[in-house]
Structures are given as structure tokens and as C-alpha cells.
């Protein structure tokens, strides 16, 4: 099991790294799918098969597909890749990386100084999750519903193609 976890971890980290250094959006998204799949693998190993399935379906499936649709709609050309290349240079990268490394160092230090606990290999299946979800967390489910509703309405409203979308900061108000 541990081996599988290591492999999945390695794949996840490497593919994520590849995501962030890609110039081409579509390539990046493909690596992202790989990363999600690897994380799903890790979930499975950690005893959450239901979540692993959801990860594959929703993250790797729905969300990435949604992004691809959007990228299609954006109708990007070849020069956008050149643009990405120009933007992604060492000068820009170095500062954030140092900052994040500091942060990561602190985080990992904190995590690793804790007394080591090994996880049980007990599998928590969909049923247990469902019982909990509709038991103590039912109000959260309701709220999630409302959130999704708002998300749909918001997305619809924002995504509408008007002749000119008016915004008082962006453009002069048109009557």
C-alpha cells in the first residue's frame, strides 16, 4: 500500500509541476487531469474509495471539461503561447518561489515535528459518508445546494453574451 501511495504521490507532484510550467493551456489541463487521477489514487489508498471516485468524476471529469470548453470559447491562437513564454521567465518566478518555499518549509516543519501516527487501513465507504452527510451535516448540504444554485445563476448571468456588458468602472454608463 505504501508503495502505491508513494507512486501516486510522485505522479501527483510531478504532473502538478508540469501543469505549472506549461505554456500551452490545453497541455496544462491534460497534466492536471493526470494530477487529479493520481490524487484519486492516493484517496483510494487512504481508505476513501467514494471520494476517489468523486475526484475522478467531478475534478478530472466535469471541472476540467468545463475549462476546456471555456478555452475553446476563448478561441486562443498560437501567439498566446508565445505570450505565456514571455510572461513566464526566471525573474518573475524566483521571488514567489522563495516566498513559497519559506512557507512550505514552515508547514512541513510543523507537520513533521508532530509525533508520527500511522493511519489505520480501515475503509470508510460511501454509506458511512452518506449517513454522516445527511445526519449531522444536513444543513451543510442545504447550504451547498444554495451555493450551487447561486453559482449557476451567477455563471449564467455573467456568461451571457451581451452586445456590450456595462460596468461602471470599466465603461461609461450607456443609456
Amino acid at each position: 500500500m505504501l508503495i502505491i501511495f508513494y507512486i501516486a504521490s510522485a505522479v501527483a507532484v510531478i504532473s502538478t509541476l508540469l501543469v505549472i510550467i506549461q505554456h500551452n493551456l490545453v497541455h496544462a489541463l491534460l497534466y492536471l487531469v493526470v494530477s487529479f487521477l493520481a490524487v484519486a489514487m492516493a484517496f483510494y489508498v487512504l481508505g476513501a474509495p467514494f471520494i476517489a471516485a468523486l475526484e475522478v468524476i467531478i475534478y478530472a471529469g466535469a471541472i476540467v471539461v468545463l475549462m476546456i470548453f471555456v478555452i475553446m470559447m476563448l478561441n486562443l491562437r498560437q501567439e498566446s503561447i508565445a505570450q505565456e513564454k514571455k510572461w513566464l521567465n526566471a525573474q518573475i518566478v524566483i521571488g514567489p518561489v522563495i516566498l513559497v518555499l519559506v512557507l512550505a518549509g514552515e508547514l512541513i516543519y510543523m507537520v513533521s515535528t508532530e509525533a508520527s501516527i500511522t493511519l489505520t487501513d480501515q475503509v470508510i465507504g460511501a454509506k458511512a459518508v452518506g449517513m454522516t452527510l445527511y445526519g449531522p451535516y444536513v444543513i451543510g448540504v442545504e447550504l451547498s445546494g444554495i451555493l450551487l444554485m447561486a453559482g449557476i445563476v451567477g455563471a449564467y448571468h455573467l456568461g451571457r453574451q451581451k452586445k456590450k456588458v456595462t460596468h461602471r468602472f470599466l465603461e461609461k454608463q450607456e443609456e
Binding site: 514567489p96 513559497v100 519559506v102 512557507l103 514552515e106 510543523m110
Partner: protein, 627 residues
């Protein structure tokens, strides 16, 4: 008959209100009908009441409470009138001369746009002045006091389109207001001391509460003197009066010669009980009077403007009245007030007629030879001038001034300095008076006469000329008939002046010397301005600084300008935007500086915010690890 007392001030007020409300709609005929008529009826009622007053055996004191003005916790002045012999003299002068001047104005002002406005103000003035002298308490007196100040302001600035008239008016109001403020403080003190502002009560209580020279009484007397000095244009508040000549001539005659400026004399006479209890203050009254008398007399010698000569002369004559008050010659002061009202009104009116005839020419050196062209004015002016110069025996001015001279010498509170000042003043008066006469009416003609005055101007002049001559005979000195109608009339109210012992025999000497000096002054003026007209120009060029110094009224204006006006204006100008606002603005600036700093961090660039988030996270984690 006495119940009609309230009508005397009420009628002019009524006239004024009608003229203000309906002024523009009335015709040129009906305006003077209301304006002159109201004062005329007032004068008539005054005569009737005066007749009653004189013919009754015991001089009555008429009181008429109209309504309760204010009544708060013992502070209860009413709107109440009080008529005694002193008020009677004043209301007689006010209504009667007022009436004559109104008649005169009905012709004098007829071509002016503000005809109705003029009469409205003039009526308002007469009403206020009557309130002043009829007031039963000091607060009502203060009412009239400020009311006449207002009218003076309005009438000096009557020709409002000339900006300098407005400034002259403003100066007059503010300077008199300075004195009024002192008087108001005096009123507070009086109320605190006596618990009332009723004049009769004060007169009764003062001798009970204070001994002679009591500090409180002296302070109150000084404060009242402050008010009197402002209104009567005495040192140090005299400088407004010459500038006040910017107003129309009838105004100068009525307000700035006959009535309003004598309000100070009235106040001191009215409160003579207080002044008698405060000998220091009374002495200062005399000193102020005598110094003013000389200063103004010298200034009058150098003026070019006909009306300014008369203005300085008024100040000087008021100085005589103050001198008389200072030596306790109450009735002499009032007598001089009355005679002065006659002849000075006459002089101003005549001067006004001259100025009108010469098409608003004020400069005496551009006049001359008017004797033939304007005979009525010449003769009346001459009579007035003779009275002012106190030519002996034939003029009223001689008798009134002589009484003051005599009492300044012989009165118990008089002394030789007062006397000498008054005597030299008489000489100067004669010189400048006849300088005026000779320059204006003698010599060759320099300006063209454009306007011959009509009968509405001439008749008041003639009446006043007669009064300036004959009115003197109601009061004759000891050595010359000893006929003291006026003093006796006032006597129960105003005590007779006690004389120094064994001095009466010298009275004739004083009269002779006064007469000699006034005749001498006249002759000197004749010599300088008719015989040898080039001589005075030589004097002028010999000492130009002195000449200018006197011409500008001893430079009091410049002094006040430097000491009060300039610092005030400077202070106001530098603080225009209010120092107090600075700390608040500083606060605002600090706040907006901080705002700008934080606004700078909101660059709109998303990655900046993310850096901020990361830095914050690092900070928090580091802190968490360190603690």
C-alpha cells in the same frame, strides 16, 4: 391735554412708518405733507403741553406708562414717558427746530430720488430723539439713544451711491457705539446697585447709597460719560462729526448740530445727581470739554469746507456745554444748548442753501461775494454767525456763552484754567466764524449762483435768525438786568450753581473781556480775509505742517487708524480662514494621507494581493512557531 404726551413721539414714528411702507407710491406733494405734518402736529402738542406746564402753579411732572416692556425677576423697565422741565426744553427744541428743518427740507430735497426715504428717516430720528429725552428709565433712554444713532447713520449715508458717504456713516455709528458700550456697562452697574433703571428712583437713591466720591458712583459716572462723549463728539471720540457732514445739510443742522449731538449733554444733566456725587468724573467732564473746545476751535480755523468749519465749531460749542457741566452749571449748559441749537441750525441751513445755490460747491475759497446775490441768506447767516461769535448785547449767543464763562470763573467747581480756555475759545470762535462769513459772502464772486432759494427755505431761516437774537433775553446776567427766566424754570430740577464767595463783583470785567475778545476776533478775521487777503496764504505756506495738522483735526484719525483700525483689519485679514480650522484640517490631512497609503496597496493587480496573502501567512506561521 397731558394724556396726549405719547403722541409727541408717536406721530413722527407713524409718519416714518407710512413713508417707509408707501414711500415710493406717494406723490411729491403728499410726502412732505406727511413728513412735515407729523412733526408739525408734534410741535403743536408740545406747545400746548408746554403752555399747561408753565401756567400751572407747581410745575407738574407728567408720567405716562404706555406698556410694560420687560419684566424679569425685578428687571422691569417699562415703555414710560416722563416729562419735566428739562425734557420740556428738549422736546421744544426738537419738535420746533425739527419742524423748521422739515419745512426747509421739503424744498431743499425736492429733486432727490429718495425724497420719501429722507423724510422717513428724518421722522424716525425725531421720534427716537423724543423718546430719548422723554424716557422714564435708562433702558428706554438707551433705546432712543441707539435709535438716533441709527438715524444718524442712515442720514449721513443718505446718498448711498457715493461710497465714502457710507464709510463716513459707518465711522459715525461705530464711534458712537464705542461710547454706547461704556454706557451699557454703566447701565448694568446701575441696575446691580439700585435694582432699577428708573431715573427718578436712581436720583432719589443715589445720595442715600453713596457718599460723595464713592468709587462705585465714580465708575458709573465715568461710564455714562463715555456714552455722552461718543454721542456728543467730544475728545477722544470726536472725529466722526466732521466726516458726518457727508449727509445732506438739513441733516447736519438737525442731527449734528441741534439735537442728537447734545444727547450727551442731556444725559449728564439728567444724571447730574450721580455726577455731583462723583467730583472726579465731573472734573473730567470739564477737562474734556475745555480740551475739545480748543482742539476743535483750532481745527476750524484751517478748514476749506464750509460745513466742516461748522462741524468743528459744533464740537467746540459742545465743548463749552461740557465745560459748563463740569463746573456744575447745569442750567447754563442747557441754556447754551438751546441757543446753540437755534444759531447752529440756522448756520447749517444757510450753509446748505449756499452750497445748493453754488451747485454743491463746498470750498469756501471758491465762494465769495454772495452778499448781493443771496441777500436773505447773507443776513440770516450773518446773524447766526454773530450769535456764534457771541458779539455782545445784540446776540443770544453772547448771553449763553457769557453765563458759562462767568460760572467757569466764579463757580465753586470752576477754576482759572477753565476760564482762560473758555475765554481763548471765544476769541478763536470769533476768528473762524467771521473768516467763514468774509470768505463766503465778501470779496469777488468766484462761483456762479445757479439756484435761488424759495420761501420754504427762507422762512425757517428768518424764524431761526429771530430766535438767535431774541432768545438770549430770557436769561440776563446779574450785572445786566438779572433776569433769569430760564434758570428759574429749570431750578427745582437742576440746582443752581453755588458760587465762590466774594467774587460777584468781578462779573462785569469778565463780560467786558469776553466782548472785547469776540470783537477783536472779528476784526482780526476782517483784517486777514478782507483787508489783506494775501496774508493768510503766507501763514499757510510758512508753517505747512501745522496747517495740515490742524486741517486734519489734529491727526486723530491717523492715530486711531494706526492704533485700532489697522490692527483690527490686519488681525481679521490674516485670520480670514480661521486658525481654529487648522487642527481639524491637519486631522483630515493625516487621515487622507493614510488613505492614500492604503489606496496605493490596492493596486488592482491580483498578484500583488496574493503576495500579500502569502506574506501574511508566513507572518502568522512564523509567529505561531516562535511563540
Amino acid at each position: 391735554m397731558n394724556d396726549l404726551l405719547w403722541l409727541i413721539p408717536a406721530l413722527p414714528f407713524l409718519g416714518s412708518i407710512i413713508l417707509i411702507l408707501a414711500g415710493t407710491r406717494l406723490s411729491k406733494k403728499s410726502v412732505p405733507l406727511i413728513g412735515v405734518g407729523s412733526v408739525g402736529v408734534s410741535a403743536l402738542i408740545t406747545l400746548l403741553i408746554g403752555y399747561d406746564f408753565i401756567s400751572s402753579d407747581t410745575p407738574p411732572v407728567i408720567k405716562q406708562v404706555l406698556w410694560n416692556w420687560i419684566d424679569v425677576a425685578g428687571f422691569s423697565p417699562s415703555i414710560a414717558l416722563h416729562l419735566d422741565s428739562l425734557s420740556l426744553v428738549f422736546i421744544f427744541v426738537i419738535t420746533f427746530i425739527g419742524f423748521l428743518i422739515h419745512v426747509y427740507s421739503s424744498e431743499f430735497m425736492v429733486d432727490d430720488d429718495g425724497y420719501a426715504r429722507f423724510f422717513a428717516y428724518l421722522n424716525l430720528f425725531v421720534g427716537s430723539m423724543l423718546i430719548l429725552v422723554l424716557a422714564d428709565n435708562l433702558l428706554l433712554l438707551y433705546f432712543g439713544w441707539e435709535g438716533v444713532g441709527l438715524c444718524s447713520y442712515l442720514l449721513i449715508g443718505f446718498w448711498y451711491q457715493e461710497e465714502k458717504n457710507g464709510y463716513a456713516a459707518r465711522k459715525a455709528f461705530i464711534m458712537t457705539r464705542v461710547g454706547d458700550t461704556a454706557m451699557a456697562i454703566g447701565l448694568f452697574m446701575i441696575f446691580k446697585t439700585f435694582g432699577t433703571l428708573n431715573i427718578t428712583d436712581i436720583q432719589l437713591q443715589a445720595p442715600v447709597m453713596w457718599e460723595i466720591g464713592a468709587t462705585e458712583g465714580t465708575i458709573i459716572a465715568f461710564l455714562l460719560l463715555g456714552g455722552a462723549v461718543g454721542k456728543s463728539a467730544q475728545l477722544p471720540l470726536q472725529t466722526w462729526l466732521p466726516d458726518a457732514m457727508a449727509g445732506p445739510s438739513p441733516v447736519s443742522a438737525l442731527i449734528h448740530a441741534a439735537t442728537m449731538v447734545t444727547a450727551g449733554v442731556y444725559l449728564i444733566t439728567r444724571m447730574h445727581v450721580v455726577f455731583e456725587l462723583a467730583p472726579t468724573a465731573q472734573f473730567v467732564v470739564g477737562v474734556i470739554g475745555s480740551v475739545t473746545l480748543l482742539i476743535a476751535g483750532f481745527s476750524a480755523l484751517t478748514q476749506y469746507d464750509l460745513k466742516r468749519v461748522l462741524a468743528y465749531s459744533t464740537i467746540s460749542q459742545l465743548g463749552y456745554m461740557f465745560l459748563a457741566l463740569g463746573v456744575g452749571a447745569w442750567s447754563a449748559a442747557i441754556f447754551h444748548f438751546m441757543i446753540h441749537a437755534f444759531f447752529k441750525a440756522l448756520l447749517f441751513l444757510a450753509a446748505g442753501a449756499v452750497i445748493m445755490a453754488l451747485h454743491h460747491e463746498h470750498d469756501m475759497f471758491k465762494m465769495g461775494g454772495l452778499r448781493k446775490k443771496l441777500p436773505v441768506i447773507y443776513w440770516t447767516f450773518l446773524i447766526g454767525a454773530a450769535s456764534l461769535a457771541a458779539l455782545p448785547l445784540i446776540t443770544a449767543g453772547f448771553f449763553s456763552k457769557d453765563q458759562i464763562l462767568w460760572l467757569a470763573w466764579a463757580g465753586e467747581k470752576g477754576n482759572v484754567w477753565f476760564f482762560l480756555v473758555a475765554l481763548s475759545g471765544a476769541f478763536i470762535t470769533a476768528v473762524y466764524t467771521f473768516r467763514m462769513v468774509f470768505l463766503t459772502f465778501f470779496g469777488e464772486e468766484k462761483s456762479h449762483v445757479t439756484h435761488i432759494p424759495g420761501s420754504f427755505i427762507n422762512i425757517p431761516l428768518i424764524i431761526l435768525a429771530i430766535l438767535s437774537t431774541l432768545a438770549g433775553f430770557i436769561e440776563l446776567p446779574h450785572s445786566f438786568g438779572h433776569f433769569q427766566l430760564f434758570t428759574n424754570f429749570l431750578n427745582p430740577l437742576l440746582p443752581a450753581t453755588t458760587l465762590q464767595s466774594e467774587i460777584e463783583s468781578t462779573e462785569w470785567m469778565i463780560q467786558v473781556s469776553a466782548a472785547a475778545l469776540s470783537i477783536g476776533g472779528t476784526l482780526l478775521a476782517y483784517y486777514l480775509y478782507v483787508k489783506r487777503p494775501s496774508l493768510h496764504a503766507q501763514f499757510k505756506s510758512a508753517v505747512p505742517q501745522l496747517h495740515n495738522f490742524l486741517l486734519h483735526g489734529w491727526r486723530f484719525d491717523s492715530l486711531y487708524d494706526w492704533v485700532f483700525v489697522k490692527p483690527f483689519v490686519y488681525l481679521a485679514a490674516i485670520n480670514k480662514n480661521d486658525f481654529v480650522d487648522w487642527p481639524y484640517n491637519a486631522l483630515v490631512n493625516v487621515a487622507s494621507f493614510i488613505h492614500r497609503m492604503f489606496a496605493f496597496t490596492q493596486s488592482g493587480i491580483l498578484r500583488w494581493y496574493l503576495i500579500g496573502v502569502v506574506l501574511g501567512a508566513i507572518l502568522i506561521l512564523t509567529l505561531g512557531l516562535m511563540l
